[in-house]
Symmetry: C2
Subunit: 326 residues, 2 copies
Amino acid sequence: MSILIDGLQYNNWSEQVFREMRAGGVDAVHVTIVYHEDFDETIENICAWNRRFAEFSDLIMHAKTAEDVLTAKAAGKTAIIYGFQNCSPVEDNIDLVQVLHDLGIRFMQLTYNNQSLLATGCYESSDSGLTRMGKQVVQEMNRVGMVVDMSHSAERSTLEAIEYSSRPIAITHANPHNWYPALRNKSDTVLKALAESGGILGFSMYPHHLAGKSNCTLESFCQMIADTADLMGINHIGLGSDLCQNQPDSVVEWMRNGTWTKDRDFGEGSASNAGFPMQPNWFKDNRDFHFIRDGLASVGMNQIEIDQVMGDNWLRFFRDSFEPVN
Amino acid sequence: MSILIDGLQYNNWSEQVFREMRAGGVDAVHVTIVYHEDFDETIENICAWNRRFAEFSDLIMHAKTAEDVLTAKAAGKTAIIYGFQNCSPVEDNIDLVQVLHDLGIRFMQLTYNNQSLLATGCYESSDSGLTRMGKQVVQEMNRVGMVVDMSHSAERSTLEAIEYSSRPIAITHANPHNWYPALRNKSDTVLKALAESGGILGFSMYPHHLAGKSNCTLESFCQMIADTADLMGINHIGLGSDLCQNQPDSVVEWMRNGTWTKDRDFGEGSASNAGFPMQPNWFKDNRDFHFIRDGLASVGMNQIEIDQVMGDNWLRFFRDSFEPVN
């Protein structure tokens, strides 16, 4: 089938954004609802989403299963799937994993950029892999049906998560390091291990992850996807745009600094370029996915392959990942 | 002067324990008020201590400075100094360090046994040293006057904390690994680096850290102290009994497992020996410090050296450590 799924967005949510999702034919989006929040703050964010589902019930609905995504599509709505970019909502309490799954959380990064209680983030100078609690929590996520996401994790931690997790994991938003050597992009070693274990990579359109950054061409991006299909296999790739639409620069500053430092950290930016980067001209918002579809055809992918990248692979992954183990 | 200071206790606090402190002539004790608690739970523990200070105002008082310790001694009371065995009360918010110092916290371990947001604990299989947040928090602790305690930390993290901290650090409760190779005991490398940086080691009387465990002899313990004085210098050692008096075994199970695991962790114990170990017969409670004083004389230490070990070194360390940097 032809379904359009984006593996990660963190927009300043509004009617405008939801209407653009519908205009762009976006069937489902994994939305980030946490960067640094603890459990109580996460509940506040869930409450805010519940108010949005009520207010914009003609445009969006909360999805906890692959079946819910199909229900949304049939009703002409965009399915919203919750995820965390950090393990902060679990605090130091493994029992919160099940509680959070009950509330609909389907993806959780074991780390944002820094060391967490579970694993090491990609900005640390040294990576000690999965911690004692990390191994426990991965087991528990496997049990309840919450996907391990290593998008912002360091290499050894990522490889250990792939190895240790009994269910396939995801890297929801990143690109190959061999195409553009950003700290956040992933080595061939990671990408191959991810694919061999049945996992999935979502390609990021966030400019700091793109060759040429904001000036990256659609052709370069689509050729990279075709090349990665050769490396990983066509079943193990999708989109994960990392779209951060309409966010003020204070948000990216908060993403980077949270409350962990008294210095100012610039993450993938710099003192002279501290804000959100400009999107490439072929992906400004949810109405632009058709450019990618066309671009993939231009680099020689066939219709079935394009459908897989645009959403079919994510749908299969959701079906295999979101339910508890029997 | 002759002052008796214990560098760590975590008893089931009661009038009995406080009266034994007075009977034993104990002038000051660094008490653990946190193992796994977050900020809000820490406040509850502080409130419980405030109630104790009111109820037992003839026996104990809260001390925030070395001067307070002398005030308590002059009044015939035992000074109580707060410390944490984990960084959990700081959560992910560096600004809480100053708030907690204002509330009287004077020691904080960067880790308990596991990986924390700041550093690696001694039970992890891999040690990545101080994290990005760890370096920030050590700087902040240095600024406000909160002592970095690495008693439960792994070797590389400990060495990095000694190196990175601009003020001397403490290992409040551990023994030399060369005397008894417990995982928690410290290598000569760590002990020498600690001493060279002006830091201090508190000798533990917790049986899992003793050669011969519960059957350790007073003579062996005191000879180990004399030998460590030779290694580190007489200025850098004191007592840190780790006395956990009157605690039910459920407490040691909580110390080890907190809420981080669904399996059962036995820490320094084992499935067949899961509870608190029996104290050696020469140190059962706060009335027994005189045995150690006599034991140190028996292994050839002079009166000045004995006074240093029994409390003078801790008093000097408190004086140098508890106030903010100008």
